[in-house]
């Protein structure tokens, strides 16, 4: 099965290890992974800020980059969902609306792809540690991926997975919200970290680079010892934690 990886700008620049782990995971389950080099950013920061005209060039570039892909897999629920939004971005422009519709049909978030398309629930991973999982808002509420990460994590050997209290609360990232309304965002991320601390977990696992950058950045600022990891790294791990 041929899979085209949509790495996301955050994944390309900041969380390179999560990307590497995603490739290795997909290859382990027989996928031939391709990386369309013309890909950039999905345009979500501009789209969610209301700059829809200015989002279109990014969207067109992405639609073109993945036009010939069989499956598009993305290690971020939020960015994968942005591909689903292109249809409404181009509403009324039949050429691009149609292309956007096709892209939407073949775009999946990584854990969604592993469980729904590849039928994998056990990645054979081994990771020793006490961890909790942050469900990101766009992945669960908008993309509708709620169970896949848990199915996969529960089968990781050595992993003690603890429920995160109030796990459906937003971490306060929200793209430009984090900088535009930083004082409110600060309270939200602190509340999230309080809940993570309640679990006494050593690792916080997430499936979205944006949330991880926000929670991880705040954890680092406040010199807390919790380590933040992308789910792909955990699922690809072979006991070296």
């Amino acid at each position: 099965m041929k899979v085209s990886l949509f790495i996301t700008c955050i994944g390309d620049i900041f969380y390179v290890n999560a990307g590497k782990a995603s490739v290795e995971l997909l290859e382990r389950f027989g996928c031939e992974v391709d990386f369309p080099v013309t890909q950039t950013c999905c345009g979500q920061p501009a789209y969610n800020s209301g700059y829809h005209e200015k989002t279109k060039a990014a969207a067109i570039n992405m639609i073109n980059s993945f036009e010939h892909a069989e499956y598009v897999v993305c290690p971020s629920g939020s960015c994968a969902y942005m591909f689903h939004e292109y249809e409404s971005l181009f509403k009324g422009d039949s050429k691009w609306e149609e292309k956007a519709g096709k892209l939407k049909q073949k775009t999946f978030e990584l854990t969604q792809f592993l469980t729904e398309i590849l039928g994998v629930e056990d990645t054979g991973a081994e990771f020793h540690g006490k961890a909790t999982y942050h469900s990101s808002c766009h992945m669960t509420r908008l993309l509708g991926v709620t169970e896949a990460p848990f199915k996969l994590l529960r089968n990781v050997k050595g992993l003690e997975l603890i429920d995160l209290p109030n796990r459906h609360d937003c971490c306060g990232f929200g793209g430009t919200f984090a900088v535009k309304m930083s004082s409110i965002s600060e309270q939200m991320v602190d509340e999230k970290i309080e809940h993570v601390e309640e679990t006494k977990a050593n690792f916080l696992i997430g499936a979205d680079g944006g949330c991880l950058m926000n929670i991880g950045g705040r954890i680092q600022r406040n010199e807390k010892s919790i380590k933040v990891m992308h789910i792909a790294e955990v699922l690809n791990s072979r006991g070296e934690a």
Binding site: V37, G43, S49, C170, S182, M213, G217, R218, R221
Partner: protein, 473 residues
């Protein structure tokens, strides 16, 4: 601006909210309770999602045929001997009510809870002409006693106060001597209010739903105060937003079920009062004279636009009760009597972008609001639509942001530029980086690093690794 509350600047209101630990504690615990109760009441139905679809369909159908149902409603009210007045503006509505009150030479008005009368600032208008207005909903009563503290929530207006604060208000203003136990506080308020119901010349109610087919009005309360307001005074005035209408009693059944479950997690509230016009010869109870005031105040301008779904709102506050932004800043920070996600959608529509352009940004777009809305208003999408309007039509987004987004748009639209920029990034931030983190970022990065570290862009990007891996074998 009648519906405006608090200081003018959004940022000062937010800071005030963030610094108010009492308020935040009260909101946090109330939200927790309301969220759990709502979820339980929704699950109990078994097929909550189908109920939501039904609710959405009913609201959509009603809005699409609003002219028909409003005509039917007013005809039915008139048939029963009631008076109907269509108020285009807040001022028109207030003037009509004032006129009725003057004619009756009324000195005292008892009111049951109504958001639309808050929106048009009816109390101020009546007090200006020397009429005494008594709020009889417990929450509204507390706020009125407390020097007209504005509501911070559309269902539980005094949600921002804890019981100790309420005890102190009663103590300072009314000489209350008992404890902060809710039962004692309520009993005390009940004693005070009973006298007011009996003394009032005119009763003013809001309207949860008007039933077009019979010209009836349904009021949903847990205190029974709406029933007292609508039966004891000789004259009754019901004020409704023009969208608060259902075609028949059958739809009312669905909407009330959705409302009480979504709002307070109850199958049904203690009282659902239904009124149809003034009393006739065969009836013992009820007002002798009935007036209906239908308020437009900007609503008809929303009809037919991309924001029409905002008019589907049934004021249950479920979106407010799950909103993390509301939890931290409180209702007053929104500067409007309509706070939270629905307030951030509705307030700029009714009050304009000039005063409320920040509200659509007071959301992380987490979608919790959209998920709980019993009539499926896509609240977070409506917020994005507002942003789009502010940016692309009103051009009110600010020069800096506009330049930054233009730059971003061009870069994200060109693989060549994106590639160059991301390759250069690690070198550009070198002066700011320490231990693989940036803790004091320059320019646009500053608001991020004011509260959290930023990871350092990697010199070997994912794309570089992927390429070398391929070529390396």
């Amino acid at each position: 601006m009648p519906m405006h509350i608090g200081e003018k600047e959004f940022s000062s209101r937010v800071n005030k909210g963030l610094e108010d630990d009492f308020m935040r504690g009260a909101v946090r615990s109330a939200q927790g309770r309301l969220q759990t109760n709502r979820a339980k009441a929704a699950d109990e139905l078994g097929d909550w999602e189908e109920w939501r679809y039904l609710g959405q369909e009913i609201r959509q159908h009603t809005m699409e045929n609003l002219d028909f149902y409003l005509k039917q409603l007013s005809e039915k009210v008139a048939e029963r001997g009631g008076h109907v007045y269509f108020a285009e503006t807040a001022e028109d509505a207030n003037n009509y009510v004032k006129q009725v009150i003057n004619k009756k030479n009324a000195k005292k008005v008892a009111k049951s809870k109504s958001m639309v009368t808050e929106e048009i600032a009816l109390n101020d208008a009546l007090e200006e002409q020397g009429c005494e207005v008594v709020e009889t909903d417990l929450g509204e009563y507390i706020l009125q006693i407390d020097d007209h503290d504005p509501p911070s929530h559309i269902v539980a207006p005094a949600l921002h106060k804890n019981k100790e604060q309420i005890r102190d208000v009663f103590k300072d203003k009314l000489g209350y001597t008992n404890t902060e136990k809710p039962e004692e506080l309520t009993l005390f308020a009940r004693e005070q209010l009973r006298k007011e119901f009996l003394a009032a010349d005119v009763g003013i109610t809001g309207c949860n739903f008007a039933v077009a087919e019979s010209g009836s009005f349904a009021l949903v309360t847990n205190e029974g105060n709406a029933r007292m307001v609508s039966t004891l005074p000789k004259t009754q005035i019901t004020v409704m937003g023009m969208e608060r209408i259902v075609p028949t009693w059958e739809e009312l059944d669905v909407m009330v079920s959705l409302l009480t479950r979504a709002a307070v997690g109850q199958k049904l509230t203690s009282y659902v009062t239904a009124l149809t016009g003034p009393k006739d010869e065969t009836e013992v109870d009820g007002p002798e004279e009935f007036h209906l005031v239908i308020v437009d105040n900007g609503r008809s301008k929303i009809l037919g636009t991309e924001f029409q779904e905002a008019l589907h709102c049934i004021r249950c506050a479920a979106c407010i009760n799950v909103c993390p932004v509301y939890r931290h800043v409180g209702g007053h920070a929104y500067g409007s009597i309509y706070p939270g996600p629905i307030g951030a959608v509705l307030t700029p529509l009714l009050g304009g972008y000039e005063d409320y352009k920040e509200l659509p940004y007071a959301s992380s777009l987490c979608g919790a609001c959209t998920e709980v809305c019993p009539v499926k208003i896509p609240l977070h999408e409506q917020l994005i639509l507002h942003r789009k309007k502010i940016v692309e039509d009103e051009k009110k987004s600010g020069f800096g942001e506009n330049v930054a987004m233009s730059g971003f748009g061009i870069m994200a639209g060109s693989s060549r530029l994106f590639n160059t920029a991301t390759r250069m990034a690690p070198y550009l931030v070198t002066p700011y980086a320490k231990d693989n983190a940036i803790s004091k970022g320059p320019g646009p990065v500053k608001p991020w690093t004011d509260i959290r570290d930023l990871p350092v862009p990697q010199k070997e990007r994912f794309r570089d690794w992927f390429k070398s891996r391929k070529t390396g074998g």
